[in-house]
């Protein structure tokens, strides 16, 4: 089984994001970037399937600027066999990313795509589902467990109020939730080895699809701050405040 893992380069999750002073977007210049954490989980799952001899090849793909090569190198160090960058200067929306991936999938013919359920920058939670729809494939989102049978997957999904297990036909798109696995760290020897693994670049333009943005961002701003709270020194005062000031308990 061949597995494709799309990965996105995002602002490192430890950094507090700020709006640009003119409100035109998010300030990213000079800040540490990293692989989207949900994509790390996706990659880890694919690499584990390869280690169990279920998968034969793991391909990491990123759609974006040439700078995304750094996270593809990380993906190679973490166990991907090869990497592909679909290069564009556009800020791609989920639909555009999925269209790029669908084109690549026509060529590469993987049986399974594992991707993060959402990117921690725009939080859209769409790309996997869109990709499955464009391809006419099954999907299993928010996966916390994946079992591969012959031509099917049994995927346990985290849903509101509990867990659901779905039996999906292959090929399929699976999106990862937090508890699927704990990704490994890249070791120095593997980082060295990754430098020799193939990293191919394809221009998005050559795919001949419409990837122009459709959403106009008018302003990026900080949310309205909460009014300052007060310290209470005892349980009695707290109950009193909740009853008479906040009026949230009877």
């Amino acid at each position: 089984m061949k597995i494709l893992v799309p990965v996105k380069r995002v602002l490192d999750y430890n950094i507090k994001p700020r709006a640009k002073s003119d409100g035109s977007g998010v300030e990213l210049s000079g800040l540490k970037m990293a692989m989207n954490p949900f994509d790390e989980i996706a990659l880890e799952e694919a690499v584990r399937l390869k280690e169990k001899n279920v998968a034969t090849e793991v391909i990491a793909v990123s759609c974006g600027q040439v700078s995304s090569q750094d996270i593809l190198r990380t993906a190679l160090a973490l166990g991907a066999d090869r990497a592909i960058l679909i290069e564009t200067d556009y800020d791609l929306e989920p639909l555009a990313v999925a269209k790029c991936l669908a084109k690549l999938i026509d060529k590469e013919q993987p049986n399974l795509v594992i991707c993060g359920k959402q990117a921690i920058d725009d939080d859209s939670n769409q790309t996997g589902q869109i990709l499955a729809a464009l391809l006419g494939w099954s999907q299993a989102t928010f996966a916390s467990k994946i079992e591969v049978t012959q031509d099917h997957l049994d995927v346990t999904r985290e849903i509101d109020g509990g867990l659901e297990t779905v039996h999906v036909s292959l090929p399929s798109v699976v999106t990862t939730d937090l508890r699927l696995n704990e990704p490994r760290f890249a070791t120095l020897p593997n980082i060295m080895k990754a430098k020799k693994k193939p990293l191919e670049t394809i221009s998005a333009q050559s795919l001949q699809i419409d990837i122009a943005p459709r959403i106009r961002v008018l302003k990026v701003r900080e949310p309205d701050p909460r009014p300052a709270g007060i310290k209470v020194d005892s349980v009695d005062t707290l109950i009193e405040k909740l009853k008479t000031d906040a009026k949230v308990i009877g």
Partner: protein
């Protein structure tokens, strides 16, 4: 043009989130139509007839539709989608699962997690786990929207809405996936998503035993739902679906009581829009205090039982 609201069901009944969806749809132009998809959903239909602001109810009630399959739900929605300017569904596990499929097949761009609607083409949505808000404009002919339920008030009132009821023909359905197991946490407590009061615990509880022994009596007293921070879930103090935060549930109850929660950004993202926040923590520098309305510095092992007994 009209707005299509796709309601989430629970067993055979309507989830209360439909009322927030109506409030959201009322900020757009045109009539609101409600789509109900499932199997043996007579109860949901009866409830739908009592909802204010609904002009037409579309129903597909079929044994093939009992498991919320996203592939099948998509085909049903697509059979009528082009009649609408906007398609609204909750930004819940249910809505997030199928709506992007619908958007993709329509070649339209979906707007996720909408927290404000200015007019038919202008929306606000949180990015970076709510650290920032993006105000955006979309002018496509059909706009699929997932709505963050906690950001809208529920439309009030029960009246016979005299809606026209149409049973839709079943389109060809793909056989790509099927549900083989469903484990829901049975609980007599209110749902975390819709509870008016939430009692939530973090790492400070120290053990699974303590989590339940301290928080359950308090939640019982307040008829509250129970929640947890990611740390508490990862440590096994509470099940996954208790998690409040960026990657868990995003809620805005009337009262949120955070017990032994330090207040990581990812947790705050899930509860900072609660109407009233109480934080109980022994560390006076805990980040949770920065957004709390009422901060109580103290040992939760003493404070929580005292609070429970005095309520």
């Amino acid at each position: 043009m009209a707005n299509l609201i796709i309601a989430e069901l629970e067993k055979s009944s309507l989830k209360s989130s439909v009322r927030q969806l109506i409030t959201a749809a009322n900020k757009l132009q045109g009539d609101n139509h409600l789509l109900l998809i499932g199997y043996q959903i007579g109860d949901a239909l009866a409830q739908a007839k009592q909802l204010p602001g609904i002009k037409k109810i579309l129903v597909v009630d079929n044994p093939a539709l009992g498991d919320e399959s996203p592939e099948k739900t998509t085909e049903i929605v697509l059979s009528i989608a082009t009649n609408y300017s906007h398609i609204l569904t909750p930004a819940s596990a249910f809505g997030k699962n199928f709506l992007p499929r619908v958007a993709a097949r329509l070649d339209m761009t979906q707007i996720s997690d909408v927290i404000a609607i200015q007019d038919a083409t202008h929306f606000s949505r949180p990015i970076y786990a709510g650290s920032l808000i993006a105000d955006i404009e979309v002018t496509e002919s059909i706009i699929p929207l997932t709505i963050r339920i906690s950001a809208f008030d529920a439309v009030m009132g029960d009246e016979d809405n005299q809606a026209e009821i149409t049973h839709l023909a079943l389109p060809d359905l793909p056989q790509l996936s099927q549900r083989i197991a469903l484990q829901l946490h049975e609980s007599s407590r209110p749902n975390l998503d819709s509870a008016k009061i939430v009692v939530s615990g973090g790492r400070g509880l120290g053990s699974e035993e303590n989590f339940h022994q301290l928080l359950e009596p308090l939640a019982d007293k307040l008829s509250a739902a129970l929640g947890a921070s990611r740390a508490a879930v990862d440590l096994g103090y509470a099940p996954n679906d208790y998690q409040v935060g960026q990657t868990g549930k995003i809620i805005a109850p009337q009262l949120y009581i955070a017990v032994g929660i330090s207040g990581a950004i990812q947790h705050l993202a899930g509860m900072k829009n609660s109407k009233c926040i109480v934080a109980i923590n022994k560390d006076p520098d805990a980040a949770i205090f920065s957004i709390a309305d009422y901060s109580l510095v103290g040992d939760l092992n003493e404070v929580v039982p005292e609070l429970t007994s005095k309520l």
